[in-house]
Symmetry: D2
Subunit: 253 residues, 4 copies
């Protein structure tokens, strides 16, 4: 099982999250590429720190929106979006290579991640960018999203993820953040759910029913209060349960 988290989301003088602590926990780092966060020095530092620990580097591409941290939908025309994604992929690739590694996968950030669950035009735009960048690049995303469906159609390797601290509906989709109980805060409970997902392929949905999930990666958060503690608890519980933690891209050279 892989553990992924958003990292490298500082900008200039401003810091976000404890990247060093998180890099000791996760196996895949979704590294911000400069459009929602991540000045060039942060990209360099994060890529270096990831490589030192054997953590894989993913491109966490975003809308161009520092003021909104990429969390606001922007109605970017698809052709522009393809180029914006390519620009970011080129930048993060450079720092991954200077650090002695490569871009191992792509996982869009924030509002773009959410938009391309349904927005076919933008989903296709991101797929187009990935095809131009590297038609063998794994894409990480939400099962059932337009993004993964179009990526699969294009022949890209598709990887499913689950969220450690999010409640699921009986249909297997995320309970909206605005609903009560949507986000879990108890480290032990989160860890126990992750173990069940990883060992039995099951999640208890918000109505108490059990749903089947198949995911190669679990997303943990790095920037919320208690984030590091929850992530460590998840990792510890998985290891104790005999789950091997390794990048989902481990089979790649």
């Amino acid at each position: 099982m892989d553990l992924n988290a958003d990292l490298g989301e500082s900008f200039g003088v401003w810091r976000l999250g404890d990247d060093d602590a998180m890099l000791d926990v996760v196996t895949s780092a979704n590294v911000a590429c400069g459009f929602h966060a991540g000045d060039a020095a942060t990209l360099a530092r994060t890529c270096r720190a990831a490589v030192e620990r054997g953590v894989r580097i993913g491109a966490q591409v975003s809308y161009r929106d520092l003021a909104g941290f990429g969390r606001r939908f922007i109605d970017v025309p698809p052709a522009e979006l393809t180029n914006d994604v390519l620009y970011q992929l080129g930048a993060i690739r450079q720092f991954a290579e200077v650090a002695g590694s490569r871009v191992a996968y792509i996982k869009p950030h924030g509002a773009l991640y959410n938009a391309i669950v349904h927005h076919e035009g933008q989903a296709r735009a991101v797929v187009d960018a990935v095809m131009d960048f590297d038609p063998g690049l794994p894409v990480l995303g939400l099962p059932g999203s337009a993004w993964l469906s179009l990526a699969e159609d294009a022949g890209l390797p598709v990887v499913h993820e689950v969220f450690a601290d999010r409640a699921y509906t009986p249909e297997g989709t995320l309970v909206p953040r605005s609903d009560p109980g949507a986000v879990l805060h108890d480290a032990a409970e989160v860890a126990e759910r992750c173990v069940r997902m990883a060992t039995k392929g099951e999640i208890v949905a918000i109505d108490g029913g059990v749903i089947a999930v198949k995911a190669a990666s679990i997303c943990v958060h790095g920037d919320t209060p208690g984030a590091v503690q929850i992530a460590r608890t998840v990792r510890g519980a998985l290891e104790e349960a005999g789950v091997t933690l390794a990048p989902f891209t481990a089979s790649q050279v």
Copy 2:
């Protein structure tokens, strides 16, 4: 002889210069990388248009300064500058590759170009970025600059350029723009000087004396009134004088 010009300096809705016309004249395009100009769509379009015409793509890296078009010195600490340059190199490289080519050389822009004539810390920072990017990448610059001197020490291929429309001092340096006669505006006169440089390695300095110059590239401007006309006149005169126009990087694969 090579002809180079700054291109791809539009941004979003704003256009600068007539890139298509200039790409029919020059052999090397210094393509803006997004920090002083050049949104991602412009990078894509410019790289594609250059490749279609066999024009080489150079990375026109800059300070991060859209509002000032990279024309204002910024006292960026060298370590930050190295990363800012790497970020831009990664981005332009991506578009060059998608267009079926590669970054053939680097030529810093505006205030950065001027700063690293003398500012050793920043000059070394740019050299460091180039060494990390590709230790065989040709660097284009002003003869006698700290930038070229440090690049040469680092083992980088160094290429000298002259300016088609600038007056030179008897010492072979540029007459400051603020001095009378610093910039030449007559297309025929500019063209005639370029032919003399290219065929005899001579420039008439502002005091009327003749100085020897050795340059592999002539810089023409693309964004001033009459720029295209001057550039065409220069090219025409060079061809008429039997000078072969080809990228200075032509020997590279």
Copy 3:
């Protein structure tokens, strides 16, 4: 009748439109406030030039989006949008005052203009900003929009505009730009329509039927090819028809 146009939309080295020519034609200038266009020097220059000609200064507020020129919808949370609009109002007010005038009205730009035709949350956010800024500030907009309706409810003076070069549906709404015939390019035809609107309160809709319109201002464009010529033709035709051209805010001190 008032003539308004978007002005002050240059940014740094990049110029857009011929502001000086347009300021000789219009009676109200929608001046960009820095978020989609308009660096501080442009704001200063545009306000000064408007005041010299007796042209009124309107605040052309926008989403924060230089790369997209404010033409892309951004899902900004209303509370943030209120503050973004206030920030821009404060900035343009400063330059209006230094030029010896004041902000005479507000007209949102581009995607924000279009969004608040229907998006009640954002429309209310802009109204809230105007109420905080000056509860007597006239607002200029599209008849039938949520924006004007909410502004009216809040007690703000509401002013209707029509578009000189756009086709109208039989219901009096704009024909979408993507439809054939949506934009008129013939200066004489555009001018003739403006005269009919101004003198008889009528527009010929795209189906040939005649609809009644009541507007205090006609919007002409400043940044398209031929824009200045069309604007001059419109002004000339209106004057010839005996229509007095004056700012819609002329009654204000």
Copy 4:
């Protein structure tokens, strides 16, 4: 005696310092205006919080440099700088007014603060902006700086500040940050120095000698580790020594 600190330096999702805690300590808040820090929501929140506590709002204007947090000298031409400062003054003024107060003074930030100690062109540019904004606006700065000298010549009210945690040379200038002992970290020592400055007008210089200083405001930092604790200790010690803490602008309405 007045206590001032830099506040409102968050941006979007990124937070800097503990503004609420600092606002309970200081009497004057240097509020960032959006060019080095401070999105519009932060300006609104900071101005409101300052007014609630009776803390005066100062305009902390800066170079346009979010990536560098305004800490890098930028060679902005004076005329541009005047407009950039006016833009920021207009924006912060708007939020101060909406919060029920006004801009009580100006204190430039970071590299601009440092530059205009000596750089006459930029110092005069900032003075010009203040004269355009409000020729009665107090300016806060370093005794002996070109900035204060030119402000005084222009008739602006000039206010001197000392730094709570900085060592001074025997000549009364700041020991450069790069020198050993330049910054003091012990809260008790810092507080004791502030009391001596406030009650006796004396500072012990780095060579042990005593120098005379006359300042109406003491600058404490809000964004370093332990900043709040040091600021509270300073305030407590001053109050215990019978020093009345009040805004230096208290006499203004």
